[in-house]
């Protein structure tokens, strides 16, 4: 058994940490406060040039070919400084990975390279609909055969990076008569395609720099070549690829939680009340111990899921466990960190309130933690079925 990272993994972690410290941290609070989003887009471009958009993607398409463990490490480091940037990087990686996994050679060459190089600031996943959140198979967006292509109609909700995405991975119903989940296909739709409209941007509790929009398809004609994978096989693709995304979101939560408890611990060894540093009080010590232990457990769960993924083993259960546990540990760490800072923590003079808002979504998106529990128990129970 060896829990040490390889030299390459450590160098990638260091590079992410250095970049986050130099470029992300200085603008994170400003971006959170409604600052110019171009600050983040500039950083995304630099991150792409460094190879952060295709960590688990082949060199052939401009990826780093560094594996899922390196991906997890990188997202954690970026999220310590700026969760909005980290989520964009995580989603971009997932878009690249899904195209690499099921796309045609032409689709890979056309789209992965553009996300990896930064020509596209982002790629988007367009799965969720207003009536299809935790239950995506109940989606109603339609793709009908029309001439030598398809025409899309419907709308997608909560789409990360939509205003600056170069390409959208879109799921739509191609066979409404098929059993639930069996008539859905997956398409690649380029930004700017007539009939693809970017709707209103959500006003969110946190992760402000990352845009979250409605995406509307109104008689949106796409060529036959836009179909990714096999017709009516789209839902299976979504289920498989979301598991990888969960490692990303769990890693992101871990980063926020670590940043929060680090800030609070630094405060606790300085802040004096009742004539002593508050780190001398057991109430504070226990909060540090509990939060840090849960975060460390989260890290190990994430490393395990990522290691299984890059070793080619099954990892859906482990990724769900890691995502669920890490994001709850992150929320817990933020709560405790804010408590440790007291009134200071509730002000914008310290970053902990931002961490707390940014962390809150991590137990919701990329599959709510209730869905993660469903996946975990399903994976376990199937071994007990008679």
């Amino acid at each position: 058994m060896n829990l040490d990272l390889s030299e390459e993994q450590r160098l990638i972690q260091d590079t992410a940490r250095d970049f986050a410290r130099d470029r992300l941290e200085p603008v994170a609070a400003e971006l959170d406060d409604g600052g110019d989003r171009s600050l983040m887009l500039d950083n995304l471009k630099l991150l792409a040039e460094l190879g952060f958009m295709g960590l688990n993607v082949s060199h052939e398409y401009g990826g780093a070919d560094a594996g899922a463990v390196a991906f997890s490490l990188a997202i954690t480091e970026l999220a310590k400084a700026c969760a909005s940037t980290a989520v964009t990087v995580s989603v971009n990686n997932m878009v690249c990975e899904v195209i690499q996994s099921v796309g045609s050679d032409e689709q890979k060459a056309r789209y992965i390279t553009k996300i990896c190089s930064g020509d596209y600031a982002a790629g988007s996943f367009a799965l969720t609909e207003s009536g299809a959140g935790s239950d995506p198979s109940s989606m109603v967006t339609r793709a009908e055969v029309s001439g030598d292509g398809f025409v899309l109609n419907g709308s997608k909700l909560y789409i990360t990076s939509a205003p600056y995405a170069g390409v959208f991975v879109v799921w739509a119903v191609t066979d409404p008569t098929a059993p639930k989940g069996k008539g859905i296909s997956c398409f690649l739709v380029e930004a700017g395609t007539p009939g693809l409209l970017i709707g209103k941007e959500e006003r969110k509790m946190g992760q402000h720099a990352s845009a979250t929009n409605e995406v509307i398809f109104h008689d949106c004609h796409i060529p036959k070549s836009a179909l990714m994978g096999k017709l009516n096989d789209g839902f299976r693709i979504a289920v498989v690829e979301l598991a990888g995304g969960r490692i990303g979101i769990g890693s992101l939560g871990l980063g926020i939680g670590l940043a929060a408890i680090d800030c609070a611990t630094s405060h606790a060894v300085e802040r004096v009340q009742f004539g002593q540093k508050i780190s001398g009080f057991q109430a504070i010590q226990w909060m540090i111990a509990d939060a840090s232990t849960r975060l460390e457990a989260a890290r190990l769960l994430l490393m395990n899921a990522a290691f299984r993924k890059e070793s080619g083993r099954s990892f859906a259960k482990e990724a769900a466990m890691a995502k669920m546990f890490a994001t709850e540990a992150a929320n817990d760490a933020c709560y405790k960190a804010l408590q440790m800072l007291g009134g200071y923590g509730y002000t914008r003079d310290f970053p902990v309130e931002r961490y707390a808002r940014d962390a809150r979504i991590t137990s919701i998106y990329e599959g709510t933690n209730e869905i993660q529990r469903l996946i975990i128990s399903r994976e376990i129970l199937k071994n007990y079925s008679v």
Partner: protein, 302 residues
């Protein structure tokens, strides 16, 4: 102990740091002689042997030539310790002399005890003692570590010469440029707080910063009041600074401000309030009216 002090001379002027070498010699009760590539027309006050080479002949700093001249002085004087200031001159020349004589070198000495020299390490976070294992040694002393000493007397001059060939060609000096505010890299930061009272008094603090050769910082209330722009702000919502010296003028020491400056090497606070929280992190808290104290300190420094 016999010391050979290596003085510094640049553009026709003896550098002030040479007096620190004399301060070190006094502190260690050494018997000092002085080496200088300088001018016979302006020999420093000093009552010992001065090994002098003519700067007009041997030019501004030239490693190979200065090394050969210094080796001649070492040969003649046979000192126990060759002492440089840890400066761009000292750290460049000292290892050349140490290598030629295969002597131990101890760099950036800040103190001594017997044969052991105290030096900083790990970015000055830690200290250790370094002991030369050769009978004679070369050291460089940290600038500012030993108080400058002005001495009297007329040295007995021994003129040095060499025909050593130069391996580097000196092209000239570039004067210091005026810089933008760079608090993060500044060695000295002098900051203004709400205690300065009004916008006009920023100039008092600016003058003090200038006299220290440091950058001007400010606490948040001063920035919020529009007395100075945000680029100067130190604290959790401004810049985090770690200068060697931080001077807090009229800053009470809110926890937000402390977050941005508490890791400074030395903190001098000036405040009317003896119980101001800045006193908890300050090495020295001067209880005074800063409108009187600051100009007096500035005048003394200038």
């Amino acid at each position: 102990m016999k010391l050979l002090l290596v003085g510094e001379y640049r553009e026709g002027r003896l550098l002030d740091t040479t007096a620190e070498l004399l301060g070190f010699a006094a502190a260690i009760s050494g018997d000092a002689s002085l080496f200088l590539v300088g001018s016979a027309e302006a020999v420093p006050a000093f009552s010992g042997t001065l090994y002098l080479a003519d700067a007009k002949v041997y030019g501004e700093y030239n490693p190979e030539v200065h090394k050969q001249l210094l080796l001649k002085a070492v040969q003649e004087e046979n000192p126990d310790l060759v002492v440089f200031v840890h400066s761009s001159y000292g750290w460049d020349l000292a290892p050349r002399v140490a290598a030629s004589l295969k002597l131990a070198q101890v760099s950036e000495v800040i103190g001594f005890a017997g044969n052991a020299y105290e030096v900083g390490c790990c970015n000055a976070k830690m200290h250790r003692n370094v002991t030369p294992l050769t009978s004679k040694a070369v050291i460089t002393i940290q600038a500012g570590a030993f108080p400058a000493l002005q001495v009297e007397g007329t040295p007995s001059v021994k003129v040095l010469s060499t025909d050593a060939a130069s391996t580097t060609e000196f092209m000239g000096y570039e004067p210091a440029e005026a810089r933008d505010v760079n608090l993060a890299k500044a060695e000295i930061v002098v900051s203004a707080g709400r205690g300065i009272g009004k916008k006009e008094n920023i100039e008092l603090i600016r003058s003090l910063a200038k006299a220290f050769g440091g950058e001007l910082g400010a606490s948040r209330p001063v920035v919020d009041a529009g007395w100075i722009d945000h680029g100067h702000q130190v604290g959790s919502t401004g810049q985090t600074v770690t200068p060697k010296l931080y001077v807090a003028c009229g800053i009470s020491g809110s926890i937000q401000h402390l977050a941005g400056m508490k890791k400074s090497g030395f903190i001098l606070a000036i405040n009317k309030d003896k119980d101001a929280p800045i006193g908890e992190v300050a090495d020295v808290l001067v209880v005074a009216d800063l409108l009187q104290f600051v100009p007096a300190l500035t005048a003394k420094l200038s």
